[in-house]
C-alpha cells in the first residue's frame, strides 16, 4: 500500500483503469493516465467521448464502476475530501446560488476550504480582479450572464490557490475577449500548477497545454506531448484529432 502511495505521489494525477457504466452504457473504459506535477494536459475527444465523466470521477462526483484515481497520492475514492482539497474545479456549466453575490459565494467556498480572515478577504479581491468582475462583486448572481458565471467559476477554482486545476471547458460561454483572458490566466497558472482540462477548442489547448490525451467512446486513443503528436502524424493538432477520431464521425 505504501509503495502504491509513494509511486502515485510523484504524479499530481494518477488514473488507474477507470471505468464507468451509466445504466449498462459504457462511458469510460479502463482509462489509465498519469499527469506529472506542473504538467498541463488537455483531454480531447468528440461529444460523449467520456471527458466530463473522467473529470467528474476525479472530483468524486461519480463512483467508478472499476478502477481508481489518485490526486497527489491521495485516493479520491477513499479520501475524497482530502484529495479534493488540493484541487480547483470547474465542471459542466457552472451555476451558483442566485441570491448570493460573488463575494458571499467566494467567502462561503473559501471558508469551506479552510481560509479565513484577512487572507480570505484579500484573496477574494485578487481573484475577482483577475476575472474582471470588480464591478459585479456585490451584485446578486441572479443578474449574471452565462459568461459572467463562467468567470466566477474560474475565480472560485483559483480561490484557494490549489496546486491542481481540473477544468471542464473553462472558456465555455465566454466572448472572444473572455476566452483570451481565460487563456492568459491559465498560461500564467501553468507555470506553477498542474492543469488537467477538457476542451473542444484546439487553439486553446495548443496555447495552454503540453500534452494531450485523446479519448473516444471511453477509450484512450493517444496520450503524448503536442510536438511529438504533430511529428508522429505529420500534421497539426487539429489534423491529429480529425485523423484519430475519423472512424467515429
Amino acid at each position: 500500500m505504501y509503495i502504491t502511495k509513494l509511486l502515485t505521489m510523484r504524479e499530481s494525477i494518477v488514473i488507474e483503469g477507470l471505468s464507468k457504466y451509466y445504466d449498462g452504457f459504457l462511458a469510460l473504459d479502463k482509462l489509465s493516465l498519469k499527469i506529472k506535477k506542473n504538467e498541463d494536459v488537455a483531454l480531447l475527444g468528440p461529444n460523449g467521448a467520456g471527458k466530463t465523466t473522467t473529470l467528474k470521477l476525479l472530483c468524486g462526483l461519480l463512483r467508478p464502476s472499476a478502477g481508481t484515481a489518485y490526486i497527489n497520492g491521495v485516493n479520491v475514492m477513499e479520501e475524497r475530501e482530502r484529495a479534493i482539497s488540493m484541487v480547483g474545479t470547474i465542471l459542466e456549466t457552472p451555476e451558483f446560488y442566485p441570491f448570493l453575490t460573488p463575494v458571499e459565494t467566494l467567502s462561503y467556498l473559501g471558508r469551506l476550504r479552510e481560509m479565513s480572515g484577512r487572507e480570505l478577504k484579500s484573496r477574494i479581491e485578487e481573484v475577482i480582479k483577475l476575472v474582471r468582475l470588480e464591478e459585479w462583486a456585490k451584485v446578486k448572481i441572479e443578474k449574471f450572464s452565462r459568461g459572467m458565471k463562467q468567470r466566477l467559476a474560474l475565480a472560485q477554482a483559483l480561490l484557494h490557490d490549489p496546486p491542481i486545476l481540473i477544468l471542464d471547458e473553462p472558456a465555455l460561454g465566454l466572448d472572444p475577449r473572455g476566452m483570451m483572458e481565460v487563456r492568459e490566466i491559465l498560461k500564467k497558472a501553468r507555470k506553477e500548477k498542474t492543469v488537467f482540462l477538457s476542451s473542444h477548442l484546439i487553439t486553446e489547448v495548443v496555447q495552454v497545454c503540453d500534452k494531450v490525451a485523446l479519448i473516444d467512446h471511453g477509450h484512450l486513443l493517444v496520450y503524448d506531448s503536442i510536438p511529438r503528436l504533430k511529428r508522429k502524424y505529420r500534421t497539426s493538432l487539429e489534423g491529429v484529432y480529425l485523423k484519430l477520431t475519423e472512424a467515429t464521425i
Binding site: 462526483l61 461519480l62 479534493i84 467556498l109
Partner: protein, 266 residues
C-alpha cells in the same frame, strides 16, 4: 478544521440563502394572514356558540392553532423540498460538492437552516395567537407552550420526510409535491382506515400531529358529530406523539444523509 466548524459555516450560508429568498417573507405574511383569518372566523361566526362547549382561552387557542396545523406542514415543505434536489437540478452541486466537506455535513447544515426558518414561521403563528389570547381573554394558558413545542416537533418531522424526497427525486417540485401527497394523502388514508378498523393509529404521523391540539385537554367530542370507527376519539397522548414525530424525523433524515452520500452528480 473540524467537521463541526464546517457545519457552522454551511449553516450560516444556508441561512443567508433562506433569508435572501422572497418565499421566506411571503411565508411570514401568509402565516400572519392565516392566523388573523382564523381568529376573525372564530369570533365572527361565534364558533363556541355553535358547539356544546363554552368559550374559553384554551378552546380559542385549540381552535386557532389546530386550524393552523397545516402551517408547519407547508412551512417545512416550502423550505426543505428543494434543499437537496436543487443542488442536482440547478447544478449548483458542481460548485458545492467539490469542496473538502463531507456531504453529511452539507445535509445537516441545510437541515438546521430549514429548521430555523420553519421554526420562525411556526413561532410567528403562535406569537400572533398568544397576542390575541392576551388581548381577548387577558389570559395565556400554559398549554399553548406545550402545543408550540409539539408543533415544532411536528414541523421537524415534515422536514425529515421532505429531506428524504429531496434526496431521492430529481426535481424540487417533485420533492415538494411528493412530501405533501405522502403526509396529507397517503398517511391520511392509512390513518382513517385504521380508525375505521378500530385500531388507534398512535404511530401515524397525522394522528401524532393531533397532539398539537390534544395537549389542551379538551375532548374532541366538543366539536360534536360522530367520530369514525364507532366513536373513537382522536385524543393522542402528547408524550407518545412527541416520540412518534421524532421517529418520523430521525428515520427519513438518516436515510436522506445516506442517499445524498451515495448520489452521483450525473
Amino acid at each position: 478544521m473540524s467537521e463541526f466548524e464546517k457545519l457552522k459555516i454551511v449553516t450560516k450560508y444556508e441561512l443567508l440563502k433562506q433569508f435572501r429568498r422572497k418565499r421566506f417573507y411571503g411565508a411570514l405574511v401568509l402565516t400572519l394572514l392565516a392566523v388573523i383569518l382564523v381568529i376573525a372566523l372564530y369570533k365572527g361566526l361565534d364558533i363556541p356558540g355553535k358547539l356544546p362547549i363554552s368559550d374559553s382561552p384554551e378552546f380559542f387557542a385549540l381552535f386557532v392553532t389546530s386550524a393552523g396545523a397545516t402551517i408547519p406542514i407547508f412551512a417545512a415543505v416550502f423550505f426543505a423540498g428543494d434543499s437537496i434536489a436543487s443542488e442536482f437540478e440547478h447544478k449548483t452541486g458542481y460548485i458545492l460538492f467539490p469542496n473538502p466537506v463531507k456531504r453529511s455535513t452539507l445535509v445537516i447544515g441545510k437541515y438546521i437552516a430549514c429548521l430555523t426558518v420553519t421554526a420562525l414561521i411556526v413561532i410567528l403563528a403562535y406569537v400572533a395567537t398568544m397576542i390575541a389570547l392576551v388581548g381577548i381573554y387577558q389570559q395565556l394558558p400554559i398549554e399553548v407552550f406545550g402545543s408550540l413545542v409539539l408543533a415544532l416537533v411536528y414541523a421537524n418531522s415534515v422536514l425529515g420526510i421532505a429531506f428524504l424526497y429531496s434526496s431521492v427525486l430529481k426535481g424540487s417540485m417533485g420533492a415538494t409535491i411528493a412530501t405533501l401527497l405522502t403526509i396529507m394523502l397517503v398517511f391520511g388514508v392509512i390513518e382513517i382506515s385504521l380508525i375505521f378498523a378500530n385500531i388507534e393509529p398512535w404511530f401515524m404521523h397525522g394522528y401524532a400531529g393531533d397532539s398539537i391540539a390534544s395537549v389542551y385537554g379538551i375532548s374532541f367530542a366538543a366539536f360534536g358529530g360522530a367520530m369514525p370507527g364507532g366513536g373513537m376519539e382522536r385524543n393522542p397522548n402528547p408524550i407518545t406523539s412527541f416520540f412518534v414525530m421524532l421517529g418520523y424525523f430521525i428515520v427519513p433524515f438518516i436515510l436522506s444523509i445516506w442517499l445524498v452520500k451515495r448520489r452521483e452528480m450525473l
